[in-house]
């Protein structure tokens, strides 16, 4: 079995799902590199995903039925595997977004009381 650092990967996995699904929902079908590049850009360089994190995550999303992967061709005629969000994926995205917002507002309330 591959040696992993359990804590970092598991925590990241939950948010990784959300980030990838959101990206696909916003941008449409993309291949793996495009997703990683987009996330790096949108986070102004804070989020840098390497293959070892991204692709197992994408595989997992595919196994859960939230994205679908197909081989296709890029604008520059390169072969790449494109991922599309599914209807179930959109539902999951909405659910997770709602959950995230709820958590954020709770934390916000909690932390602002310190003042």
């Amino acid at each position: 079995m591959a040696t992993r650092e359990p804590d970092k990967t598991d925590v990241l996995q939950g948010t990784l799902d959300l980030m990838v699904l959101q990206t696909l929902a916003m941008v449409g079908p993309s291949h793996g590199y495009a997703i990683a590049a987009r996330l790096e850009q949108a986070s102004q360089g804070s989020i840098q995903l390497n293959m070892g994190t991204l692709y197992p995550g994408l595989m997992r999303l595919e196994q859960r039925g939230w994205v679908r992967g197909r081989w296709g061709v890029t604008d520059s005629n390169r072969k790449a595997r494109f991922y599309t969000i599914t209807a179930a994926g959109r539902r999951q995205l909405d659910a997770e977004k709602a959950e995230w917002r709820r958590m954020t507002s709770i934390m916000h309330t909690l932390l602002s009381e310190d003042q």
């Binding site: 591959a2 291949h31 072969k79 179930a88």
Partner: protein, 894 residues
Amino acid sequence: MNWMSALREWMKRFLETLHPSRADRELEQELRSHLEFAVEDARRGDDHPDTRIRLARIQAGGIAQTMEALRDQRGLPWLADLLADVRFGWRMLTRSPGFATVAILTLAIGIGATTAVFTVADALLLRPPPFEHSERLYWIYDTNDELRQTVNDAVGPSPGNFIDWRERNRSFDYMVAWRNWWFSVAGPSNDQMAAEQVRGVMVSPSFFDMLGVQATLGRTFRPEEEEPGRDQVAVLTDGFWRRRFGGDPAIVGRAVTIDGRPFVIVGVLPAEFYFLWPDSAVFMPMQVDAGFRSLRSSHSIAVLARTGPRVRRTDAQAELDQLSRDLAAMYPTANAGWSAALQPVFPLNRNLRPALLVLFGAVGCVLLIACINVASLLLVRAGIRRREIAVRTAMGATRGRLVRQMLTETALLAGIGSFAGLLVAGLGLRLLVPLIPEIQITRALTIGINARVFTFILGAAVLTAMVTGLVPAVRASRTERLRVSAQSAGRAPAGRVLLTIEIGLCLMLLVGATLLLQTLRNLQQIDPGFRPERVLTMQLWLPEAKYQSPTSVSAFYQEVLRRLHQFPQVSVAGLVNTRPFLGWSLGATVDIPGRVERTSGELIVGCRIITPTLLPALGIRLIRGRGLVDSDGPGTAAVALINETMARRFWSAEDPVGKSLGVRSLGSTTDAPWWPEQMADMFTIVGVVEDVKESRLNSQVEPVVYLSYLQNPSRYMHLLVRTASVPPTTVTHLVQRTIQAIDPDVGAYDPRSMEAVLDQAVAAPRLNSLLLWVFATVALLLSAAGVYGVTSYAVTQRTQEFAIRIAVGAEARSVFHMVTRQGLAVAAVGIAMGLGGALLLARFFAGVLYGVVPTDPVTLIGSAGVMLVVVLVACWRPAWRATRVDPIIVLRAD
């Protein structure tokens, strides 16, 4: 919804483990294209493209690591590992077919034997009966202080008592009366078939509700159907319905004739149903009329009851005790001194439990020995695979992984061994089932592999795998030095320890088998008190409607005997109401004038109605006085014989011949069909006969009084025909035809030879003895194989040492002795352990032995001797091989 998608993920990963849908190559392609994109992006830009490219590549990560992470996500790693282990284990086994065959065969014998014994125990003892709340069902008996000291320490309750208990109790959900007997059944008026004698059961109407049994056709009884006038309804069993009425549903609602009276069939019972008697044909309500309610002196019914949901047995018993006291106060003449006793109905065959426990222990020993043999084999094999294990450890295999992989191999062995064990069990059962003695069962004894047995096999297999594989696996996974020296294999001390255990177990089995054999011999030598050779027996029953008067009854029997005595093959024929080893007997209450009356109860003794010819027919010896003669008829003085036990009990200091005896409560106004007519109250004792064993061979004989069939005719008798020189069963047809010729309506059932009957009495101990000897033999063979294997291996390990010894001049004989001494040392320790074990477990054996104690020194020493001889024989060949070691060849090869 998260759990659904998680389930989907797991399903996909499971399927992927078996067959990956995305090949590795495709995954790599995706990763490579990712890298290309990254490099391309890094190339755009002006300054230092190479650095950026390198940085981009580093940042993207490595393909190899990502592939590993992908593989972990794609399948189920632990499952993939397991499958890999199984494949590897399978390859290892097929590479050494000899080892695999021996191991599988050994395990198959162990698991198969255990399964066979478990199947029998399950069918006889463990399988729950198909009735509701069967654990709350009890028999209720009547008993008193006097009875408790005799062999038959309880009798059926009286009808009056039953009614009172039923009305006054609070502890019982249901209480029913029960009586089974033979009835003459004729079909509806248009039925051409003759009347048939069948077994029928009279029960209280709530009987079927109590058991939770419903009719498949029609209904069972209603509560009011025990009242006179409403009780002429009947329910048929499925078998009888199909056999007699052709399975015709129209029979429900029609009337049949039972014992000359019309009964309306109201229902048919389910096919698998029977309760204690497989040949019951018809059920009728037990009529409760004024006579029934007030009858307290005759103990002529059986009572079954079911306790309420949360009522404990002790509480129910306490309530019954209180009720008994109340009844004794209300009806002192009938009930003084009587109390009620509860006995659980299920599990049946409780008395078989000690024997089955012993069998289980024995078969467990065999299984353990088999496991130990296989474990030794594995240990040897692990020694041979040292190098492979060292290499694998060096390449990064963890100890846990190695152990797991070896256990998988053992599990494979155990799995295949279990399947083979199933075959062994099936074969063993086919041989075993015909030998099982007749016993009561709740349904047809279908001994087969069912779900419970299968679970047992699975458990046995897993346990076997663990026991067999753990020690070798743990030992083997210890990191060995790569540099293997000739001596480092060690002398396999673990193998020797296992061997001592094996020898110990084998010795215990040997001791057990010998003890059981002695028990069997002792039982077979018990004098039953009669001569069973060449005696045919069958049961006769005269229908009451046809034989109303006592003289017609005795006339019939006289005619039977007269005709039978004309045949040359018949030496002498006689009749008795209950024959030995029937399973039940008739009791009567006696008064002995001059005897101090105890307040605690009445004297109940066995009561036999006999013809004078019975004594010579059965071969019962007369000890004092005279036997009965034909002139002891209805008009003359009432006479009786008693047996030795009765004479000793009541007339120990004097001669009982000539004394008077009062016999009561025989066939009073009841309808108990097995009671004879009573025509006198006081009898004179004219003779004493020897004791006859009538129930169990190794139990005491009850006091018995013998009365004349002419003076107390009984419609229920057993015929005993002693043949002159031919086997008794050859005259069966002759006898049956004779009876048919006198009266075709008389039932003649169950012809057997008395020798066969007596044989049944020792059937159980014989089976136990046989089984244990089979196990002991198997264990001896396995142990011998184990000793041979371990000694051979030890010799192989010490070849160098022997070579040196021989080279410096040691005699062949001393080398031989060295090896055998080692074997004997192991044997000695094993025998000591075995003896210790046998002594420890002695008390579990006590229940199945007769005439010999579990710690019998002769048996112990003898078994130890046999064990020693076996070990010596097994050691012989390896020791001989040790002497043949050629020092030149061995030393040169080093």
